[in-house]
Point group: C2
Chain length 349, copies 2
């Protein structure tokens, strides 16, 4: 009368105990199989795995979490969904995590440090296997977050933080991206540039400006005479509308530069459409370069020249660091230029 695994279960199989009863084993054996303990007879192991598969049994993540085992879950904290580059990063991150057998739990912070702190508190309380913090709002919370993570022994990775942290981080070399864009435009003969939304005083703007100043040193450019920054202190959103407003200011400049480098593709597209509306031709009268390589840039007229962030590689790096348990340090990706038709020879060539 021994229970064989091909028999139908009497009740619902919704716990290791139920599964153990059904297979005529003890729940300790089931647990050992689940946790990859070596001391299980291969035949027993196979029998358990096969039964779990067949019955669609998944061990309760809640039980595991409480007892201190792996939950197979990674918490992902980010500021907002509105921006398409964030959406892409998250979609890719989720895919990479799934491929590594992990589950992603997303939480939004709306850029509010208090919410961010609360989200991290909740994540560690849930005993997740790791945390990913996307975007750079952690400045004010760093110490509190670092101590929470340490006391719970939860590994974490920051994605593209605004500045260097003690926590492990993965980012894009915005300075290099800036140099790529400028080298491209210099090669087309441009000598005077408007920077839309790239404010040296802001976090990401600062990184871009470091690249600019570096290049200026090498190429003997005059930062003062060849560059003009158009930016608002409180732009609201770094979106199409912002680009349009900055384009209006560009149109009002006395000696208009021949090339525009924008903070991102949305600002670039917003600016470009506004300039076209005002009767300017792109690229013969003004060249425009964006940043991010969003879908939208490929579907405007003319197609946008932009800088690609290599999101796929970025997220592979995040998961590798999370899994590897790296405890600090930064890895930086080199972006690459994507040529469109929104940039051309100065004066229309």
């Amino acid at each position: 009368m021994c229970a064989v695994s091909t028999e139908l279960p009497q009740g619902p199989i919704d716990s290791t105990s139920a599964l153990a009863r059904h297979l005529g084993l003890s729940r300790w054996t089931i647990s050992r199989v689940l946790n990859g303990h070596p001391e299980v007879k291969p035949a027993t192991k196979r029998r358990v795995c096969e039964a779990m598969e067949r019955l669609g049994f998944v061990p309760s993540p809640v039980g595991r979490a409480l007892r201190g085992g792996r939950t197979g879950m990674v918490g992902v904290c980010f500021q907002a969904l509105g921006s398409p580059i964030v959406a892409r990063r998250l979609a890719v991150l989720q895919r990479v995590l799934r491929a590594a057998g992990l589950r992603a739990l997303f939480e939004l912070t709306d850029g509010d440090p208090a919410i961010e702190l609360e989200v991290v508190r909740h994540f560690v309380a849930m005993r997740l296997d790791g945390l990913v913090l996307v975007g750079g709002a952690t400045a004010q919370n760093e110490e509190a977050i670092a101590s929470m993570l340490a006391s719970h022994r939860t590994p974490a990775v920051l994605v593209d933080p605004v500045r260097e942290y003690t926590l492990p981080s993965v980012g894009v070399d915005r300075g290099a991206g800036m140099r790529l864009a400028l080298e491209h435009l210099l090669g087309l003969g441009h000598e005077r540039f408007a920077l839309l939304g790239i404010d040296e005083g802001t976090a990401y703007g600062g990184a871009r400006w470091r690249g600019l100043r570096e290049l200026a040193g090498v190429r003997r450019l005059s930062v003062k005479r060849q560059f003009v920054t158009l930016a608002e202190v409180e732009p609201g959103g770094l979106d199409f509308a912002y680009g349009r407003r900055l384009a209006d200011r560009f149109l009002g400049l006395e000696r208009r530069p021949t090339a525009i480098v924008a903070l991102n593709d949305q600002v670039a597209v917003g600016a470009m459409t506004r300039l076209q509306q005002a009767g300017l031709d792109v690229p013969t009268e003004v060249s425009v370069v964006g940043f991010d390589n969003l879908d939208v840039g490929a579907h405007v007229n003319p197609r946008l020249t932009t800088v690609d962030q290599r999101v796929e590689e970025l997220m592979q790096g995040v998961v590798a660091r999370l899994m590897g348990g790296v405890s600090g340090g930064v890895s930086i990706l080199e972006p690459r230029l994507v040529k469109g038709e929104s940039s051309g020879p100065v004066g229309g060539g």
Copy 2:
């Protein structure tokens, strides 16, 4: 020597027991305060709340979940992040949930029914307070999902499902949206229409077509002579590129319609830019109407006429149903027309 709440704690306060010890109470009292039991002395209750606030103590959601209490978490399952309308829906849903004191856990399915099933299984195993399924991939899984939800007594709401389900759902009246768009164009004198990506055979296309046929009956339109559908069987993505491809087919039509109604704003914008590239003027030579009222539509030339989905109200409805514990039925929102400059009098008026 009674412990007063202004004393500093000896160790970390990371459990109800620790908090109880610190306050000189038993952990049962703490638990009762947490769960809003009436039988607690108001003064004690205040003392506990104040201490939790001060010490930043949050009861472990894992412990609560295991014992069967409210977890304060809602699982949100959706197909993909790529589409901006989805991103907006999620952002709004998250905000509304937070306002209701709930936490959202997001999971992507990539439109794969197997992944969807697994995600729902995981959500119910985590003892979440509720589930929200956004988008319509549940067709093949409905019974399995419904039985899982029922056996765990987890309330769920479908957002904008492709067809009617036994599960409670909240959606947008796509037929009404179609009628709004067509009424608008008819009012401008248009008589012949191209439908871009609106395939009667597909789920959402079918709903739009029902609205079309209804209006055709009332307004005595000839569906056969006045409407032409341009769509691909496997479009890949319902994005800008799809709009461009469909615009190419539009350009090849013998007797071109004077107005275009597109599946969504991305298809509309993709098509519009392609038509402009080909030398057509919008709206004097062809009017274009989108669907969704995305940000991008307001920042192309000319500004896109579109139909707004009322995402905010939609998500308010979702959370109300989740909280109210409604067990079935459908509520449908009426969309509204947003006039831009991409639609105008036939022949340029």
